[in-house]
Each structure stands twice: as C-alpha cells, then as structure tokens.
C-alpha cells in the first residue's frame, strides 16, 4: 500500500496513506467537512464546492473532496474564509430550492437540511423568483424526480456513468437550467435505479414505493440480508408499526460494495399483513392467521388445528414438499434432518435447483482485481446484478470480459461477446478452449482467447441455467483451470440463483438434490415459495409470506414471516454465512420459517404443537 504521510488538520496531526483525500483524512481525525457531491464510492468531482478548506501555502481555497493529502500539508477547516465560502455555497444552493421540507420524504434525513442548519446563514438575500418546475415527474415505475429540489451534485448521473455504466440517468441542458433526466419519451430504465434515491442528498429522487409512507424518525431499522438472489447484499430494513416500508443498503465492502439492485430493493419487499382473502388485490391477501378450507371457504382456525390438518394431508400417498431456496440455514438444516423422518413417503426438495455441480471457489471481492473474466451464460447483469457491478469494477481497472451466451447485460463492457444459442454453448466453450491451447479456431474466438491470455487473476462463471449440461460444466472447469481462475485470487464456479441456495446445498442433505414435483404430487406443501406452488385439483398447503392463492385446491394456509421479518442466517454464493435480524413487531401467528417447520414436525409427531 501507499506510504503514510503526516498531515495536520485544524492542529491535529495524523498519519494517513498517500493519496487519501483530505475529506476522508479529516473524517479519520474526527473533523467533519460538509459535503454534497462527494461520495466515497464515486470518483472525486468537486462540483458542489461545499467542502472547501484552506491549505497553507496554497493561495486559493481547495476542495477537500478532490485534494489528496501531501507530505507536511497543513489544513484549516474553520477559518473565516472557509466559513464564508460554505455560507455562500449554501445560499446559492438554496436560491432555487423550494424549501418544502415539511412535505418532502427526505426531511429528517437530508444532508441539505443538516448542512443548512449547521453551516448556513439562516437568511437569504434573494428577491428574484425561484426556478419553477413541474413537481413529482415520474421517471419510471419506481422513481419520481423533483427538479426543484435537485442541487445538481451529479451523484446519480455519476453512479450510472461510473458504477452501472449504463448511462440511464444524465444531466440535461446546461448552466442554471441544468436538470437530471432521460431522453424524452423513454423511462429511467436500469436494474440499479434505486441506488440513486439513496445517493441523492436531497429529496429530488424519491421511490414511488416509499413516497409519503413515513417520516424517517418513525422507522425501526433492522440489519438484514437481501433475499433477491444469492449474492447476499447487506440491507437495512426500515419498518413502521411493524410494516416493512423500504430496504436500504448496508454497505459491505466485501459483498455488495455499497450497492443494491432494484430486484432486491423493490421487488422483494414483504406485503403488509391482510385479511381480505377473497380480494382481487394480492396485496390485501397476505395471511395474518392460519386458514383452513371448511365448507368450501378458507376460514380462520387455531394454529394447531391447521398444523394437524397439514400433517394429515402430507401423510397421504403422492405427497410432496417444495421448499423455497430462501429459507434460513436453521430451517434448511431442520428440513434436511427431520422432514424426511416425519413424512417418509413424501417427495421433499426445493422448488428450484439449489445444488451447483461446481460451487463457487473464491471471494466476490476478489473479482475487482481479476484481469480476465469469462462468463459462460451467467449474465450477472440480469441474474445476479450486483455481481455485474463487481465485474465492471474489474473492467474499469483494465480487465477484459469475454461473454459466451444468448444474453449479456454487460455487452457494452465486454471485450468480446460470442452470442450463441443455449444449445451451442458447449461447442463454443470447446472452441474457446481449443483457441486457448493455441489450436485453430474461428477468428472471433481466437480474438476472445487472445484477450483472455493476459496476466493476473482470472474469473470464470457458469450460468445456473446451464448446470444441467454436463459437457459444458466439464468444459467450464477445464477453462477455469486453463485460465488459473481456480487458483488464489481467482473466482470460479456456477452460482445458483436462490438467496440461500448454497445454504440449502450445504445443510439440507439429500433433499437438496430432489425435485419435489417430479412424481406429479397430489398433495403439496409449498413452503416459502413466492408465488406459491399449487397442485390444481389436488390438495395444496401453502406456507407463505405472500398473497394467499385464490385456487380452490388450497386446503391449508400457514402464515410465514418474510426473510426481512425473520431472523436466521443465509449462506451466499461464495459461502459466506450472514445474519438476518428479526424486525421488532410481528403478530404471534406469523412464524419464522424455522419455527413453522419445527411446529409442523412436532404436530406430525404428536398431533400437538410444540415450540422449537
């Protein structure tokens, strides 16, 4: 690493690595320099000018967010010139800002509010009218823009330029008329759009899901892990009166690097608890108590009665249990050890494949240092989105990405994309391997092989959709070996998609590899699968945190806590075990996966409910 240098900030001496930005150095010394445009995950830009400081022997004020420390630098953050400059910047930022904090979602967690209170003059000398713009401009199904509130810090546009690389959101016009936007007639289309809501230091970009639902001080915050896919991004679950209203990032530099995808942030949110089980609106049909079909109608029943009925049904011939790959490790282990014992004749397994023939070797964070990446149909942009951001980080540092597959969300960043149909994947991989061995191949394949021949760590990913192709899997392993991706610093394997697929594969024993639906069951317990799996015409038992299905085959409904409401552990695709905490308020009848399984097992054994 860089050699340390000694700098003095407001009289405090500290030693920091060369290249550290002043704003970060000050933070280490416990000195806060106010910022808007600066963000530790984005490149220095120096746009808002809020962070100016005085550096001795430098004539002009310097922006702490763009100035790296230098040997013997002496910095002052509280001189008259600095305070005046901050005040001037805040006055300028507010001349066109509507100051509608009482009706703004950001109010209470707004850096503009906070900095204005701490560093502003308290009055404005502006007499000219403010810039007026239509409020609440919908940019997409998810995001709304208020241009009047925007202070043009360019965090959102820089995110799409530097991090996502999709240029989905940009700055339009210029000078004082600049605004954030998209091409007219199109929408803000990116799998990562929610990150900009979180990056926005004012209430300019807001989430339509969360808008006007709560004030920040009413929220109870619980650390958890995203259940959208197997990357295992760390999240913060914000609930009001027990209802989860939003999910925010909880930066883990080794796993998510501070980002979430929209699937994790918006599409995986639990529904509010409902009681209108005949409502056409699924959002009103989340069970808050157990239900059993009596006289053709789903009716509320005591918990034990529902469990006993479920156990009874599952003992019939042609019964099956389909487990979600998003259950906690605790539930996985319990299912693997006990379910088979109590329902010996039932087919017990997972609703989607959880067992990878080639579990990932290597660490997600090591992807950033890879110099060569080969994607065999994994298409992380669409399947494991945050993994794609890690690959972009590697590419920005000079890595070459070669993709083979029918779909490639990173096409723009790929050095070569050999676009082939699924059936031709193995042939393409074989040709690439031949090219890597120096044998003859098509020019495009040779070129791809050439760009993979560089030095440095390598990564090889095989898509979950292709793990059934034994020849391709074998070739993928050979390619990984040829590129050294299975060695130190490398990353190799076929990550499965389910949030806790790896936990299932490691802990659920033999049931992990069973397809519960193979034998065309007539009784099916859908445990945690969203949407629930049913056996129309048969008997369905649904343990769900989603909507109760309207199908008459549903015999028993068991309310389940959503992973964001439960506690337990997930194992992510690289094998890291992470803890989910329980949101504080949850009705007694809504059980965690582990509690519900345990109760079901007990009911099957004794006909009575026993707490785990």
């Amino acid at each position: 690493m860089s050699a340390p240098v000694v700098v003095k900030i407001d009289g405090r001496e500290l030693s920091v690595p060369t290249g550290t930005l002043l704003v970060e150095a000050a933070k280490q010394a416990g000195i806060e320099i106010p910022v808007f445009c600066h963000h530790e995950k984005l490149k220095p830009v120096g746009a808002c000018r809020m962070c100016v400081v005085e550096v001795e022997r430098v004539p002009r004020l310097q922006t702490a967010c763009t100035t790296p420390v230098a040997k013997d630098m002496v910095v002052h953050t509280d001189t008259k010139a600095v305070l005046e400059a901050r005040e001037a910047v805040l006055e300028m930022l507010l001349v066109n800002h509507p100051l509608d904090c009482p009706i703004c979602d950001k109010g209470g967690e707004c850096p503009l509010q906070d900095n204005t209170f701490r560093h502003g003059a308290g009055v404005s000398r502006r007499t000219e009218p403010k810039r007026a713009n239509a409020k609440a401009l919908p940019l997409s199904e998810l995001i709304v823009l208020d241009r009047e509130r925007c202070i043009l810090c360019y965090r959102c546009t820089r995110f799409h330029d530097e991090i996502a690389g999709d240029g989905a959101l940009v700055a339009l016009e210029r000078g004082g008329t600049s605004e954030i936007g998209v091409l007219p007639g199109t929408t803000y289309d990116s799998p990562f759009s929610g990150n900009t809501v979180e990056l926005c230091p004012v209430g300019a970009l807001t989430s339509r899901q969360y808008r006007f639902r709560a004030r920040p001080w009413e929220l109870e915050t619980t650390p958890s892990v995203c259940c959208g896919c197997s990357v295992g991004c760390n999240v913060r679950v914000d609930a009001r009166h027990g209802s989860v209203l939003r999910v925010m990032g909880r930066t883990n530099d080794a796993i998510d690097d501070g980002w979430l995808c929209d699937r994790g942030r918006y599409a995986s949110l639990p529904l509010p608890l409902g009681a209108e089980f005949a409502s056409p609106d699924p959002a009103a049909r989340r069970p808050r108590w157990p239900l059993q079909r009596i006289d053709g109608q789903l009716q509320r029943v005591p918990f034990d009665r529902a469990l006993v009925r479920a156990a009874e049904l599952l003992r019939r011939p042609k019964a099956a249990v389909a487990l979600s790959p998003s259950l906690t490790n605790e539930a996985m282990q319990l299912a693997g050890r006990e379910l088979r014992a109590v329902f010996a004749n039932a087919a017990i397994g997972f609703a989607e494949s959880v067992v990878s023939p080639w579990p990932v070797l290597g660490r997600i964070r090591d992807l950033a240092a890879c110099r060569r990446v080969l994607d065999l149909g994994c298409d992380p942009w669409h399947e494991l989105p945050v993994l794609a951001l890690w690959l972009r980080k590697a590419i920005a540092a000079g890595a070459a990405l070669v993709a083979i597959g029918p779909r490639n969300g990173l096409a723009r960043d790929s050095k070569h994309w050999l676009k082939v149909a699924p059936a031709a994947m193995a042939d393409a991989a074989a040709e690439l391997l031949r090219a890597l061995e120096g044998k003859d191949a098509a020019p495009a394949v040779k070129a791809a092989a050439a760009s993979l021949r560089a030095d440095g760590p390598a990564a090889v990913l095989l898509g979950a959709s292709f793990v059934h192709d034994a020849r391709l899997t074998a070739l993928a392993r050979q390619l990984a070996k040829a590129l050294g991706a299975d060695g130190p610093g490398g990353f190799a394997g076929a990550p499965m998609r389910g949030a806790n697929a790896r936990g299932a594969a490691e802990l659920a024993g033999t049931i992990a590899a069973t397809d519960p639906l193979a034998g065309r069951p007539e009784v099916l317990l859908s445990f945690g699968c969203e949407p629930a799996l049913l056996v129309p015409g048969g008997s369905s038992i649904v343990a769900t945190s989603g909507a109760v299905p309207m199908d008459p085959c549903v015999e028993v409904v068991l309310p389940l806590a959503h992973p964001y409401e439960a506690d337990g552990h997930f194992t992510n695709l690289e094998g890291t075990v992470q803890r989910l905490e329980r949101t504080q308020r949850r009705p007694a009848d809504v059980s965690t996966d582990c509690d519900l399984l345990s109760a079901l097992i007990a009911a099957a054994r004794s006909g009575q409910r026993v707490h785990a």
């Binding site: 220095p44 830009v45 120096g46 746009a47 808002c48 000018r49 809020m50 100016v52 004020l61 922006t63 763009t66 790296p68 005046e84 400059a85 001037a88 910047v89 300028m92 930022l93 001349v95 066109n96 000398r125 502006r126 000219e128 202070i151 043009l152 360019y154 999709d166 240029g167 989905a168 940009v170 700055a171 339009l172 016009e173 210029r174 000078g175 004082g176 008329t177 600049s178 936007g181 998209v182 091409l183 007219p184 007639g185 199109t186 490639n408 096409a411 723009r412 790929s414 070569h416 994309w417 050999l418 676009k419 031709a424 393409a428 040709e431 098509a442 020019p443 495009a444 394949v445 070129a447």
Partner: protein
C-alpha cells in the same frame, strides 16, 4: 459463431444509408468510439434538420451509447437543435463588442426587413432569426451574423442588411466565391504602419483571405523547422529548445510551453497532442485567421510538437462555428498527407502522424482544456478536477498536451530560427516572441496585429494599428483579454502590452483580445450583456458559478431596467466574492470581473441607473 456488434435497427428508417455510413466512419476514426457521438449528432442534424428524440436515439444506437447520453449532448450544445428551424438560421451576435458596434441595430433591421422577431421563423419557413450572446469570432468585422454555416460580416449599412434580407428570401446564402463567408466591406482597413521595423512570422500575409497552399508555404521556407527537428534533433532537444525560448501559452494562461511538454511521461504507450482551437472568448479572432490562412504553419507546429512529446495522433478541436476554418484545415491536412508531409513517414522519416480535425457545437466552456477533452471524448463538456493533470491523464486517460493554436504556430519558427531569436523579440526576454493582438471595438482599423510581445502600450496599439478611436470618441477603457478580465480604465492605457504590464494595470493580458470601450457605451448595459454571456456559458457543474452567474445577471437586468437600488450594488460585490476563487475552472472568476471592475471604475453609472437616471441610449455606435 459471430462476434457481436451493435445491430442498429430503429435508426434505419430515420437516417439515410449515406448518413449511417458517415456515422459508422466517424465511429471508426477515433481511438474510442464515443468520440463519434458529437460528430454523429451533427451529421444526423444536417440530414433531418433537427434532433428529435427518435433521431437522438438512433444516433445513440449507432455510436453505442444510451439515448440519455446522446440527449445529454443534444441539450448542452447551442448548435444542436431540438426543434425545427427555418431553412436558413440567421444568428446575430449582440455580445460585447458586436452589440454596441451595431449588432443590436442589425438585429432590429433584420427583424424589420424579415417581418419577424428574434426567435421566430418566417411564415414560408425560409428564415429563422436568432439573437445570440455567444461571440462568433468576427468582432473585427462587426456587426455580423452567422447564416447557415457561414459568416456575413461588416453588415454596416441599411443597404447591406436589405441585400442580406433579399438574398435570404430568395433562399440562398451570401458567400464570397471560394469561401462560406461573406464580408460586405472587405477592403475598408488600409494596412497599418508601425513605428518600428518588424517582419511578421505568424500572420505574414496580412489582409489575405485565402489559404496559403502547401506549395506557397514551402516556397516561403515552410516545413524547414519540421525537417530540422526530425533530422537533426531528438525529441528532448526539441523540448529543450522550446523551453529555452520562454514561449508561454497564448491561450491566456501563459504557462511555459516547454515545461508543459516536459511533464509528459517518457513511458511507452499512446500520448496525444490536442490543439485548442475553441476560440470563443468575445473579442478573439486570431486562431481563426491562423487556421483559415496559415493552416500549414499550424500543421508544421503540430508535427514538431507531436514529435517532441511522442504523439502519433493529434487532434485540433475547433469551435463549431468555424466551419470554414475546419474545412480549410482538413484540406491542408489532405494536401500535406498527399505530399508525404503528414501521415505515414513524415518527410521521409520513421515518424508517423495522423491529425484529426474535430468540430465542437457551440459551447464556450470547451475552451477550458479539460472540458475540451470531455467534449472530444463524447461526454458532457464539464471541466475535470485536477489532479490528475492532462499531462498525466488527459484524453482517454492518456498523457496529453493541450496547446492553443497560436502557441503551436510559434513552434516552427523557434525550431527554424532558434530560441535566441525568439527571446530577442520584444523588450522582455522572459515573455517574448511574436504575439497576435486582436483589436476590436471602437477603433478605425480593427483586426489582428502581430507584434513583438510587449512592444507597444494600449495607447500605441490603438493609435498605430487601430488608427485611433472611431469617430474621435474618448475611451472609457479597454477590455484586454476579451470580456474575461477586468477593464483597464483610460487612465492606465500607457501600460505595456505584455503579461507583466497588463497585470500591473490591474488586469490580465490573457489571449490579448483588446476590446476598446468608448465613452458613450453604458457600462451597466455592457456588464449586463457580459453576464448574460457567462450565465449562458456556465456549464452547471460548480454551484457558485451555476447559480451565481444567473443571480448576478438577474440583478444587473433589474438595475438596467431602472428598478435596482444601491443595496444591490453591495449584493453584486458580495455574490462575486462568493464565486471568485471558489470554483473549479476560470469561468467563474472571469464571470465576476465585468461586475467588480465596472463597479470599481464606473460605480456612478450604476448608482445613476438605480435612481432611474440611466445613461442615454448610445449603445449602437454604428449608423
């Protein structure tokens, strides 16, 4: 198995095959395809007439960026249009000095002759008339307007305007044969006489309007400097010779050119020379003449500089309005390549050099070197924060030297005649050499005057070269560096015209674009007009400049209209203080000097305007 290339589908219906091919050719031209975005948008606009979202989306698809990324440029550059215009777009410059040299009156006359107001299109769709606050680089031939891709200059009389209106209504553009431009009074200025002998080297053919051909240039000793550099000197020796000459950057910042070249790392890998020809400072028109007439001098300088820094691919970034200059430079490059002077094996050596001409699209900020690089990369032209400096990470992140046209034009002479010759030109050898002074505003003979740096005072230049103030008026002051440096009041016009002399007079020499402001020009209106420029040209990156220029302009407009009060004057100064020195690039600093200097020297005019007793309307000096 195919290697995937974008297969644009939507664009096919919107753009002709020729246009699509031209876009793909642009894409292939540059080291990074995104550089083709701005040229591609211009090609599409040339075909469709304007850039509606569907066309922007098609261009984006061809270049390989998102639609939003293309729209980002479409909405930034003033030469890209989102709405249809008439067949001929007529843009009248009303900035200082054009505005008071008859520009405002020209606009009024055109409005009357065409029967439309500025911003409107004639009923038959033939003409759209626009008032611009952007200078177009023809201040010495004020008043002027841009018609289509050419300039119509010296529109002094009512008859000139009537002639223009008739031509426009007939659907054509006035143009002198052999050029896109037309000067209504080409021979008004007699050649100047100097009080001392001086052999011009940068603009040796004063008064000439056509380009010097390769044959002519060679006959006059051209490309001898390049020949000497390639055959007798190592790159390090070339850099050393330039260092010894004390050549300082002529774009305005006056940084040592040799030192700048010396910062380029000697490591292998691509390095770039980018010539800044985005001459957009009001009052500046020297680089235009250098490119239009002395194109080969510039190319020789480019070749020598490229050789010195190890560059194999050089770019000339020309402001979009200079279409004529761009074409002439392209012609000169073709001529040089055909003769083996550029391209593979320059002058029979092993040195290869490709020179690209890149035209901007109307944005003053592109004159700032890092904004220029962003523009060249197909991004929104906003200045970059430094470090890293361009010499380390410039164009496409590679080591890059950015030099002004005039700076580069000096290089062949330094190599040919030696650093000592250069240092001996002018009284001060620390800042010596030939210098072009752009003289405009209220003088009898406005134009480009090449002199040894610092050999004259303001007053001498106005008298000897400018032929005195027009109409025998008194001088209020001179803006020495376009509108970007404080005005030098009449009392200080005996200052020497070198970096140190002008600094001692409280201002900066900058690009040496001297705008003579006569007594009868109202400083409140002049300041308002200048702030309108900076407000329009602020890129929007830094808060103080983005919000501050707009606020300053709004206050000035209020004062100009008679509804200001004297507290506003203190507010103007206080706001200026919050901008100056607090922003990333120099534009913010430049923007405050029209306000602070005008208030320093002419406060009484602002006080009078606040009390409703504004100056009499003597704005348009020309009849």
């Amino acid at each position: 198995m195919i290697d995937s290339v974008p297969q644009p589908a939507a664009g096919e219906a919107l753009l002709s095959a020729a246009c699509r091919e031209a876009i793909l050719a642009e894409r292939a031209r540059y080291p990074h395809p995104r550089s083709a975005l701005l040229p591609a948008l211009k090609l599409a606009q040339a075909e469709v007439g304007y850039l509606p979202p569907a066309v922007v989306a098609a261009v984006a698809e061809f270049v390989g960026v998102s639609g939003a990324q293309a729209q980002e440029l479409t909405t930034f550059y003033s030469m890209l249009h989102r709405a249809p215009t008439g067949k001929k777009l007529v843009q009248v410059c009303t900035q200082v000095p054009c505005g008071y040299m008859g520009g405002d009156r020209l606009l009024a006359r055109l409005e009357k002759a065409l029967g439309i107001k500025a911003g409107e299109t004639t009923a038959d769709g033939a003409v759209t008339l626009e008032r611009t606050v952007e200078c177009m680089g023809a201040c010495h031939r004020a008043p002027m307007c841009r018609v289509g891709d050419g300039f119509v200059e010296n529109l002094r009389t009512e008859a000139d305007v009537a002639g223009l209106a008739t031509t426009l209504r007939a659907g054509s553009v006035p143009a002198t044969p052999g050029t896109r431009n037309h000067d209504c009074h080409p021979d008004v200025a007699p050649p100047s006489k100097l009080p001392f002998a001086y052999e011009r080297v940068l603009l040796p053919h004063q008064g000439r309007r056509t380009r010097v051909s390769l044959a002519e240039y060679r006959a006059e000793g051209g490309y001898q400097g390049l020949d000497r550099a390639l055959k007798q000197l190592t790159p390090a020796q070339v850099i050393d010779e330039v260092k010894q000459s004390n050549l300082r950057g002529r774009g305005g910042a006056a940084f040592s050119t040799g030192m700048k070249w010396g910062f380029v790392p000697k490591t292998p890998g691509p390095k770039y020379l980018v010539v800044n020809a985005d001459e957009s400072e009001p009052g500046t028109f020297k680089d235009r003449e250098l490119m239009e007439v002395e194109a080969h001098l510039l190319l020789e300088g480019i070749a020598i500089a490229s050789y010195a820094i190890g560059c194999r691919e050089a770019f000339v970034y020309i402001r979009g309005e200079y279409v004529e200059a761009g074409e002439r430079l392209r012609d000169a490059i073709a001529e040089a390549k055909a003769a083996g002077v550029l391209g593979r094996g320059v002058l029979g050596s092993s040195f290869d050099l490709e020179v690209h001409v890149f035209l901007g699209a109307g944005a003053y900020i592109c004159g700032e070197e890092t904004a220029l690089l962003e523009s060249l990369e197909g991004r929104r032209p906003m200045p970059r924060s430094r470090p890293p400096f361009p010499a380390v990470a410039g164009l496409y992140g590679k080591p890059t030297v950015v030099n002004n046209v005039e700076t580069i034009a000096n290089v062949p002479h330094i190599i040919k005649r030696g650093a000592a010759w250069f240092r001996a030109l002018g009284p001060n050898e620390k800042s010596a050499g030939p210098k072009i002074y752009c003289l405009s505003g209220a003088v009898n003979r406005p134009g480009n005057y090449e002199l040894p740096l610092g050999s004259m005072t303001f007053r001498e230049l106005i008298e000897h070269c400018g032929g005195g103030v027009s109409g025998g008026r008194g001088i209020k002051g001179v803006l020495p560096a376009g509108i970007s440096a404080p005005i030098v009041p009449a009392s200080k016009l005996d200052a020497k015209l070198d970096y140190e002399g002008v600094q001692a007079a409280g201002s900066m020499l900058g690009s040496a674009s001297l705008i003579v402001v006569p007594n009868d020009v109202d400083m409140v209106r002049a300041a308002t007009r200048m702030l309108e420029f900076f407000r329009h040209e602020s890129c929007g990156k830094c808060t103080p400049c983005r919000e501050g220029t707009a606020w300053l302009h709004e206050i000035l407009k209020r004062i100009e209209s008679g509804s200001g009060n004297t507290a506003d004057l203190d507010l103007l100064l206080s706001l200026s203080k919050g901008i100056t020195g607090k922003v990333l690039c120099a534009l913010g600093d430049f923007a405050t000097s029209p306000v602070t200097a005008a208030l320093q020297h002419f406060r009484d005019e602002f006080v009078a305007a606040c009390s409703g007793r504004g100056a009499a309307d003597n704005w348009s000096l020309r009849p």
